[in-house]
């Protein structure tokens, strides 16, 4: 029988504050020992043989004084406004490079468009540059995705030095891969003699430099420092302007100098960042046995590597189809850039600007809702959990599509009242074909960005193989439809292939996301 002295009541109060719904008296014994009680003290203060016997006595009392309401807590959390604001801001920064590039290219005439003659030689030069641009994105897509896959874990665990080492490794590997690809293509061109050597050199230089430029982005994504990329890009564009208009340097040379400067500035930033990061305990990284094997890493990140390549392949497949066909030479193997076609497709990219600003917010909101619902529904109410998440996703997709449509209306309006109005004055390649291709591409890009939203959820839930499957089917449709139509009709019908592929991409991405949501609890575990 406990003698309920004031000391005892105080002790009971203290224990109630420290432990919620104790499991058994052992738990109380541990708490008592942590409060400094020993067997001797318990005996002296309360007359019990030892802590364990005392704990057994008070266990029931503790349980009775604690309310049953604490047993099943309900979590009520909402996405913070600040998170939404920051997400939107990051979205703005992520599309700024695109806006700046398009502004400089289309409205300032700051591109190959303005300086390339419409003769055969000029087209070949433009083809070299455009092909270098496309291939550089395809080549770096895989490395970026693989890096991001591994890097987020390191970033969250704050292993900064390891993270930077990993980034340098991926940067080097990406560049080496680009060198091999450039060598292969160069060998083919030299032996087949289908292009001028001068343009081959332009291709190689642009390809390698643009690869380096795109490889600068992933580390900035990890550290949420896309603004650095934007700043660096703006400075580079200004440098081109300065070299071209003040020093009268050829535009190609000016762009090459600007790209080199971009990469140098990026690495200066990295060095400064490395110096600022504090390496608490990381300087002595000495783990005797642990060293991730390259083959193992490659195996784990392979689906994401392939995804990164295939995503850009989907975006640009139609260009290669259009460039490889010619009304004179139906089976011509040589790529010739079709300026009118490319102009229309490039203008279409404007449509993704507005949705791209909000995509991160949508992703964050949905993931938060998923977490909240997983804490709010008991395991017996799994059906309701699934239904709620399906409903949330449907609402999100609908809202996102509305934003995409708004984006489409805005971009059509802007393009109509600027680019189309100035027409051939702005760009010598402007024509009705460009305009028609533009309208088709707008719909296609809406599907692409809509599908991308679902892709991000699938990436988050580590569904790399599913994403590869979606892209392979979409690319297949893109290629098949585009190739057939461009050969039967005109090369510009390749954009219909793009539209078909994009539509399939959207449908499949959404379908598989719904499939995953129907087993969401399992996939949340799978992602652990």
């Amino acid at each position: 029988m406990i003698n309920k002295t004031p000391d005892f009541e105080l002790l009971l109060k203290e224990i109630n504050g420290l432990v919620k719904a104790p499991r058994d008296y052992f738990e109380l014994a541990a708490i008592l020992e942590s409060l400094g009680y020993s067997d001797q003290r318990i005996k002296a203060d309360f007359g019990y043989e030892d802590i364990f016997s005392f704990s057994q006595e008070i266990f029931q009392q503790i349980q009775d004084t604690q309310s049953a309401n604490c047993l099943n807590e309900k979590i009520v959390e909402k996405t913070k406004i600040s998170e939404l604001f920051l997400g939107t801001l990051r979205g703005v920064f992520s599309v700024l490079p695109m806006i700046i590039s398009m502004f400089s290219v289309f409205l300032m005439n700051f591109s190959l468009w303005s300086f390339v003659d419409k003769n055969d030689s000029g087209v070949e030069k433009a083809t070299a540059i455009a092909l270098a641009t496309i291939l550089s994105m395809v080549a770096t897509g895989g490395f970026s995705q693989s890096f991001l896959r591994k890097a987020y874990g390191l970033y969250e665990q704050k292993f900064s030095k390891k993270l930077w080492k990993l980034y340098i490794f991926y940067f080097k590997e990406g560049l080496f891969a680009a060198v091999y690809i450039a060598a292969l293509i160069s060998a083919f061109v030299l032996f087949s003699d289908i292009y001028r050597i001068k343009n081959l050199i332009i291709f190689d230089v642009y390809f390698l430099l643009l690869t380096a430029v795109w490889l600068c982005m992933p580390i900035l994504n990890i550290y949420k420092a896309e603004g650095i990329f934007v700043l660096n890009l703006g400075l580079s564009i200004y440098l081109v302007y300065f070299l071209k208009y003040y020093l009268c340097i050829d535009i190609i040379i000016a762009q090459i100098v600007a790209m080199i400067t971009f990469v140098i500035v990026h690495f200066v930033f990295i060095k400064i960042n490395l110096a600022l990061i504090s390496y608490k305990n990381e300087n002595k990284y000495l783990s005797a046995n642990y060293n991730p094997r390259l083959l193992f890493d490659a195996y784990i990140t392979a689906p994401y590597f392939v995804y990164g390549i295939l995503y850009y392949a989907l975006i640009f497949m139609d260009r290669l189809i259009a460039w490889s066909s010619n009304i004179k030479y139906i089976l011509e193997p040589v790529l010739r850039m079709k300026g009118e076609y490319d102009l229309g497709m490039n203008w279409g990219i404007f449509v993704i600007i507005i949705p791209a600003i909000f995509i991160e917010v949508f992703v964050r909101v949905y993931i938060n809702k998923v977490f909240i619902s997983s804490k709010s529904f008991s395991v017996e109410r799994e059906d309701n959990f699934i239904k709620t998440n399906l409903k949330n996703f449907t609402a999100l997709i609908r809202m996102f599509l509305v934003i995409c449509i708004i984006g489409a209306i805005v971009s059509i309006g802007v393009i109509n009242y600027t680019v189309f109005k100035w027409g051939i004055e702005l760009n010598p390649y402007y024509s009705d074909i460009s305009r028609n291709v533009f309208y088709v591409s707008v719909i296609g890009y809406i599907f692409i960005i809509g599908g991308l939203l679902s892709n991000i959820y699938l990436l988050y839930l580590s569904q790399g193989k599913t994403l590869v499957r979606i892209l392979m089917i979409s690319i297949g449709i893109n290629f098949t439809v585009g190739f057939i139509l461009s050969r039967i009709f005109e090369e510009y019908f390749a954009c219909v292939g793009f539209l078909a592929g994009a539509a399939v991409f959207f449908v499949l991405s959404t379908y598989y996301t719904y499939k995953v949501i129907k087993k969401l609890d399992y996939y949340l575990y799978f992602n652990k």
């Binding site: 432990v19 942590s34 060293n291 784990i300 997983s374 804490k375 008991s378 399992y522």
Partner: protein
């Protein structure tokens, strides 16, 4: 494997300590391995991350070192560096849903019964863990544990268990949330990756904790009959009770963790041939958890009397110091409050703490308390000091104001340095000090202060106590004693049974 013939081979398993994190257990491991040059060791270290900083260079007699990171890897086989990737790839290809359902789920079901059940059957648990280990010699851990059928099976079992009074949550009427299902299975996936690691064949296994690092030892015993020695520094189960109460966890998760840990602790206690806690105080818990008396043999920590030597010239410093981490369990605030009381009587004294701040928030609270009591000029924090043997000579009295301890090295090191010790009566402190120092109640700055004042005012008594402390430490807590005790223990286990001479007591 690198073992020489005819040399004793021992597998030492650690958890969150050696050779990565500094602390008492790591120091103990390093001394044990480093001084026992006649033994070949394998070390399996269970750690939280693959990028843990290794603070100890492994001695030459460590022939094999395996670290098992429980978190931070993208695949559960990532740490198996010695296994060719082709073998791992083949295991992944061989693992399919049919194999998982037919061969793994029956084992998994029994393991879940043990984890989730209120009553524990440690012997069956050990056998099922061994079956799990054998399964993962052929099949892939990642593919198995992340299979949809495993998740579905687990979820169904949890749901059925809601009305089954044998499971811990049904008794407490806690209905788990979906997130708790994912999280709890996620913990099982992480912790039991230990069974995915090949265990070297040795003469004896030795675990430094009755936790997850003891699982390879249990499996080795079942598979090969390898004798198992368990050393308990703290009491693993008690530490988990304290940790789960401090952590921000739901009730289901807290009870899940405790149920899981209890299963593992009892497993270790059941299969260990010999349990050697570092102090008699810890044996109380072991006995409460069903360990037979004849399986327990206390082996105290030991310090090197050639390193921790008395001062050559003993001169009064008018200083009281503590050598401890700045941590809530060390209760430095108790020392600070006591310092205020002491200064009212002996205003010429100074105070200091040698130790790193493992808890920044707590450290700031200590600084604030010190300043608010007007002790800024009198009470100093010196930070981590690499040579503690020199730090002990900075003061006349060594204080340990902790609220919780196992068998603290700082007390026996101070005694070996011929210093008078005032320490709180927690854990094995009273066993260590006995009459060779002053033991006071914890969380009582007045008692702590009175003991320090008495010692500072009574120089002769202080000298007598410190001499007795040195004599006791040399006799009982020397590193030679510590090593000899373990040599005897290894010898008795190597010969196939525990025949330890309990008559050879020094108390």
């Amino acid at each position: 494997m690198g073992f020489e013939e005819n040399r004793l081979t021992i597998l030492l398993t650690t958890e969150g300590t050696y050779p990565f994190n500094a602390g008492g257990v790591s120091t103990w491991c390093h001394k044990l391995i480093g001084e026992m040059k006649e033994v070949d060791f394998s070390v399996i270290s269970v750690i939280d991350s693959p990028f843990a900083v290794q603070n100890f260079t492994l001695p030459e007699n460590v022939k094999n070192f395996i670290s098992i990171p429980l978190w931070g890897t993208m695949d559960s086989s990532e740490h198996l560096n010695w296994i060719p990737f082709s073998n791992i790839f083949m295991a992944k290809m061989q693992t399919n849903e049919k194999i998982i359902k037919n061969e793994f789920i029956p084992i998994f079901s029994k393991i879940l019964d043990e984890i989730l059940g209120i009553s524990k059957n440690s012997y069956d648990f050990g056998i099922n863990l061994t079956k799990m280990y054998e399964y993962f010699r052929k099949y892939d851990y990642e593919k198995t544990m992340k299979a949809e059928c495993i998740y579905s099976y687990y979820k169904t079992k949890i749901i059925k268990g809601i009305d089954n009074c044998d499971f811990f949550y049904s008794k407490s009427k806690i209905i788990p949330m979906i997130q708790e299902i994912e999280e709890s299975l996620g913990l099982i996936y992480r912790f039991f990756n230990i069974t995915n690691t090949t265990i070297p064949e040795v003469n004896i296994t030795h675990s430094s904790a009755a936790g997850f690092c003891g699982i390879p030892n249990v499996i080795a015993k079942i598979l090969h009959g390898t004798p198992y020695l368990l050393t308990e520094h703290g009491v693993y189960m008690r530490e988990q009770f304290l940790w789960t109460n401090r952590a921000d966890m739901s009730l289901f998760m807290k009870n899940f963790m405790l149920s899981l840990v209890e299963a593992v602790v009892r497993l270790n206690y059941a299969y260990a041939d010999l349990i050697c806690p570092v102090c008699a105080y810890n044996t109380r818990w072991e006995k409460k958890f069903g360990v037979e008396d004849n399986k327990i043999n206390v082996i105290y920590n030991g310090v090197d009397p050639a390193v921790f030597v008395p001062e050559e010239l003993e001169e009064e410093k008018r200083k009281i110091i503590a050598i401890a981490r700045i941590d809530p369990l060390k209760d430095i605030k108790n020392f600070i409050n006591a310092a205020r009381i002491i200064l009212d009587e002996l205003p010429e004294l100074k105070f200091g703490v040698y130790g790193g701040a493992s808890d920044k928030k707590y450290f700031n609270e200590c600084l604030h308390l010190r300043d608010s009591l007007g002790l800024k000029e009198k009470f100093e924090f010196y930070g981590y000091f690499e040579k503690p043997e020199k730090a002990y000579h900075a003061g006349d009295i060594i204080v340990l104001p902790s609220v919780s301890e196992g068998f603290p090295y700082s007390v026996i090191e101070a005694m070996m340095c011929k210093k008078a010790v005032v320490a709180t009566d927690v854990g094995g402190v009273r066993e260590a000090i006995g009459t060779c120092g002053l033991v006071v109640p914890p969380r009582n700055p007045k008692e702590l202060a009175n003991a320090c004042i008495w010692l500072m005012r009574n120089e002769e008594s202080r000298k007598r106590i410190s001499e007795a402390a040195r004599e006791k430490a040399s006799r009982i807590f020397s590193i030679e004693n510590f090593l000899n005790e373990y040599r005897k223990a290894y010898e008795s286990l190597k010969n196939g049974g525990f025949a330890y001479d309990k008559q050879d007591a020094r108390f």
